[in-house]
Symmetry: C7
Subunit: 73 residues, 7 copies
């Protein structure tokens, strides 16, 4: 069977990922869930702007349509 | 069963959350309801801009497609 | 049964609400109807920009996808 | 039965309305038709920018997703 | 039966129309087809910017979601 | 039967077309396929910015929602 | 049978492609999967801005609606 994009997110579950948003913000944390809209929940999440940690957010729900990329770390 | 993003919002019900919008505004309040579009209602909501409380709104319905993140406090 | 976001709008029916748009405009008036797209009709509506009344519009239909928040007054 | 937003547009049929677009333009004319996407046709339509009549367009089809508000005059 | 917005486009078929886009461009030509997304084909189309003819395009397919208005000439 | 917009794209198949994007870029190449979302594949494609060839891309898949117009050359 | 746009992506599977985003960023890597929304996964991906490699990302999931073009290299 051919690979599908959500397989990649599934394999990253509970691992650390980088999520980038359309507004330029970055979140780094453990991906604990996602759905077909790419709504995504990170735990132990940190927000970074220009490489600097700007906030520690703990749990964060990110609305899928605001995401550009998700990259396992 | 695998965790889903809306489970996280469900667990936060009636608790304090931070909601950020595409236009940069922040709302902090008790999340009393949400739906699959991520339309969200907060109670005892305050608007913050750059960390400052700019308005006390009481109950506020936030249209889901304007939301970037929701973070339980 | 769990509360849903549209319940909040329903409870506000015929009462005064503040509606804010993605373009920064505010409308204040009595909410007489809304639908699942959050298309909303206000009566005795006033437009405000930076807190100043800029127009009295009477009845106004607001397309849902242009709305950010609705807050009962 | 509860009022619905499209009832308001229906009641305005063949009457004069103001339509405002996301790009800031205004059209004033008789609303002769609309659909669930809020695609709207005006007749004897005038375009106004900053309150000034900038064009007389006669019949104009306005794509719904470009509309912010429709207000019966 | 009540008039519908697409009836207006249908009546304009093979006649000259003005199409305006979200990016401010105007196209004038004969409308030979359209669909429910308002994807539209013009023939003998000219592009105008600020009232000046900037290009003669012959046949042009315009994606519906980029259109703001269509006005029969 | 009435003409439909996709008929025009179909007739252009394997011929040279100009594709313009919402970000202002132009691609010129042979249109070898498209679908109902207007996702489009060009071959022997060149990118042009302000009339100048800026890149030769060979085969290029263009996501439909980024396209404003397609014009057979 | 007529060619379809996704056939082109399918043929590029496991080969090197250039992906460009609405925000101007470029990613170059091996395309290992995509779906009908054009959600796309690259491996051994590099980000380039103005032709310069700005980051090595390894595996990257790119949300389809942020993509403008995909070009096999």
């Amino acid at each position: 069977m051919e690979a599908r994009p959500l397989d990649t997110l599934n394999k990253a579950r509970n691992k650390k990922v980088l999520v980038e948003l359309k507004n330029g913000k970055q979140f780094i944390g453990q991906i604990v869930s996602f759905d077909i809209h790419i709504n995504t929940v990170l735990e132990e999440a940190e927000e970074r702007v220009n490489g600097e940690i700007t906030r520690k957010l703990g749990t964060v729900f990110i609305r899928g349509d605001t995401i550009t990329i998700i990259s396992p770390q």
